[in-house]
């Protein structure tokens, strides 16, 4: 009791103030916890966050023009795009000096490829001109304006220089504009011509079809999960194997199997014709269109819906239903007012899982989607591996990531992320 009357701080056994002693031991504990998760943290950082970050950075990075043609970019600052006239001799002089260095380093063809994304013909213009400019000497052969126009008359057109000037900024919004069917021009952002607008349509289609796939997964998975949760454990485990077995099969195999099933000479159509439900000459088009993508992806993503639903339904006590019925509820009321609300967290978890997986799906739409059932991810893959326009691919990927985060935020606001239960 004498402590209570003491006026100084409370001391620990070793004489340090208790507060400081506590803080120290907490700090040690925190450090220990950090040390335990550090390997994972470093792993995620090195193998996931940094590569994704650097890939996303490509969507705005645009150093190529100013790095390859540093003098030209400076010289072009005095030139007025609006004039519609080709720039004067100093620009040409700077350009030849830049090009001689670029050709030495084999950079000019890369630049041509970069500018060709914006203006058709730039690729061959740079490649062709490169061979001839190599022979010019920037110190002695001036003036160059006539010489360059002789090499290719495009060097005499204001349009060519406008493209170089427009895309000489180091950080560009050009790729993002391209990703939403617009383009960067000297007059500011403009809408792409109608016959080139495709990406917004693909974004919309991806969202709508992912929504349809999620809904059909809910409809199919709900009764299955209910059955699994309410059967005796032995039977339920057997059925669970049936759910998991396709899940363990390669994605490619399952998708290809759908191809065999759904095509016009395929199993389903043959059966329908044999049963007389469909005439032989008007077989159903079930594949190479949106229908095919929806069917195949619903099947492939179904386990991701069943499993969270099942784990939530398992925890719902059957006595609740019995209690409701004993109070006079019909089967439907008991289900709708008692069971269903309790199973919503499972639906929520399954939906968010399936929707986010569906939105980024690539291989299934590519194989069964034809032209009407492909997603935006197929376009991203095209720009990564075929057209090599990585900047545009990065911009598309960034937008897709943004859409997912936005939806997640909406979901959190409306349903509440705390209501999601995976078990």
């Amino acid at each position: 009791m004498s402590d209570a009357t003491q006026s100084g701080p409370v001391l620990a056994a070793d004489g340090t103030p208790l507060k400081r002693s506590l803080a120290r031991s907490l700090r040690v504990q925190k450090m220990r916890a950090m040390a335990l998760i550090a390997p994972l943290l470093i792993f995620v950082l090195v193998s996931f966050i940094i590569p994704i970050g650097s890939m996303l950075f490509r969507s705005v990075e645009n150093g190529m023009v100013s790095q390859t043609l540093p003098l030209t970019v400076v010289a072009l600052q005095d030139w007025d795009v609006e004039s519609g006239e080709a720039p004067d001799e100093p620009v040409y002089q700077a350009f030849v000096a830049d090009m001689v260095v670029a050709i030495e380093n084999k950079e000019h063809t890369k630049l041509g490829t970069r500018l060709n994304y914006e203006q058709t013909g730039m690729s061959s213009l740079f490649r062709k001109s490169g061979r001839k400019i190599k022979r010019l000497d920037p110190a002695e052969d001036a003036p160059f304006k006539e010489k360059l126009i002789d090499i290719d008359k495009k060097w005499g057109e204001a349009e060519t220089w406008a493209v170089i000037k427009t895309h000489s900024v180091k950080i560009t919004n050009g790729y993002f504009l391209n990703a939403v069917d617009m383009r960067r021009t000297p007059e500011g952002a403009q809408v792409q011509p109608e016959d080139k607008r495709i990406l917004i349509k693909l974004f919309q289609r991806t969202l709508i079809m992912s929504l349809i796939i999620t809904c059909s997964c809910i409809l199919l998975a709900y009764p299955v999960a209910w059955l699994l949760a309410n059967l005796p454990a032995r039977t339920a485990n057997m059925l669970m194997i049936l759910v998991l077995l396709p899940f363990w099969t390669s994605l490619l195999v399952r998708t290809s199997a759908w191809k065999v099933m759904l095509q016009q000479q395929g199993v389903i159509n043959e059966t329908l014709v044999w049963l007389g439900l469909v005439a032989d000459d008007s077989r159903l088009a079930l594949i190479n269109n949106a229908t095919g993508t929806i069917i195949a992806m619903t099947h492939i993503l179904l386990p991701f819906m069943i499993l969270p639903m099942y784990s939530v339904m398992r925890t719902i006590q059957p006595t609740y239903l019995r209690a409701a019925k004993s109070m006079g509820a019909t089967n439907w009321t008991a289900f709708w007012r008692v069971y269903f609300p309790l199973s919503v967290p499972g639906i929520g978890a399954g939906s968010i899982l399936v929707f986010i997986l569906a939105i980024g799906y690539y291989i299934t739409p590519e194989i069964v989607g034809g032209t009407k059932g492909v997603f935006i991810s197929n376009r991203i893959a095209y720009h990564i591996s075929s057209s090599l326009n990585w900047g545009l691919a990065a911009a598309l990927g960034t937008i897709l990531l943004g859409v997912v985060l936005l939806l997640y935020w909406c979901y959190d606001k409306i349903v509440g992320i705390d209501n999601v239960k995976l078990g």
Binding site: N105, K106, N116, Y117, T120, G121, S123, D195, K196, G370
Partner: protein, 362 residues
Amino acid sequence: MKTKLTALAVTTALVAPAAIAEEMTIVSWGGAYSKSQLRAYHEPYSEKTGVTIINDDSSAEAVAKLRAMDEAGNVTWDVVDVVAADAIRLCDEGLAMEIDPDTQLAAAPDGTSASEDFGDLLVSECFIPQIVYSTTFGYRTDLVGDTAPTEICAVFDTATYPGKRSLEKRPINNMEWALLCDGVAKEDVYDVLATPEGQDQALAKLDTIKDDVIWWSAGADTPQLLADGEVIMGSTYNGRLFSVIEEQKQPVAMLWDAQVFDLDGWIIPAGLSDERKARALDYIMFATDTQRLADQAKYISYGPARASSAPLVGKHADLGIDMAPHMPTDPENAKNTFLYNYEFWADYRDDIDAKFQAWLAK
């Protein structure tokens, strides 16, 4: 224990470089094509030099992967098999090494220099062509009716040949065929296609059969669709059709009219160590000599890229049939041909592809 481990580590460190030196990674397309290279080039080369060859079937993404490897500063491939258009892009980006045909490749047996022997097919300084293949049409003999198609415009003639066709899901080749069948003369095709009106004209022609087309993106699709009876005719690489017709004995025949020639060959990635570079060059010199190129034609129906190899093309190694009539370059087949226009498509690919995809999605 510790000394033992150290000793082991030291031995591994000493042995490892030597072991690596005896291995090289060759990248190609997989399937029957890689198998033909294995038998014609890799096996004899390994036998001769003792080098172990590791196959990688990544050629479809070769340009993207080489660009990524170059940025990461770790090129793990030694020799890569790519189509000419990709080779030109790799060369442009400085990702492939320049190869001088006359000093770094074998001359023909009669002494003709390699550059003369390959001739116009040396389309890039970094590229050593290996085969000439073509994209052409196959049709189901039992489904096209009494008169079999003989010319390309049958593809657009849905009245005479009702049924589905398969075309590649990209503008290249399809736009040329469309213009050709819309009455544009062969020599004007690319001039017309360079204008927006010409592009619209080609798309309008394709529009007439749009509902009857199944679009493919993998070379194996059309043979499968033909075998299943899903389509009555479809475009693909001639070697795939050969395999469907001669090896699988399906009721399919070739339509060689307006076939588009393309080249496939080797490049060596830039940035290899001197030792690996020397071995890659040694391999290429071996694999592109006259006899070796003719050997490949024993296993697959692609024409050798050297003029001096053509007379040496013999019979199929397993089927025993004469290979010459199955080559796209055979005079009987090559009556009306296109050579893939690298220059044009390098410039117009981005632009026309955007229009084509927008048209497809309509």
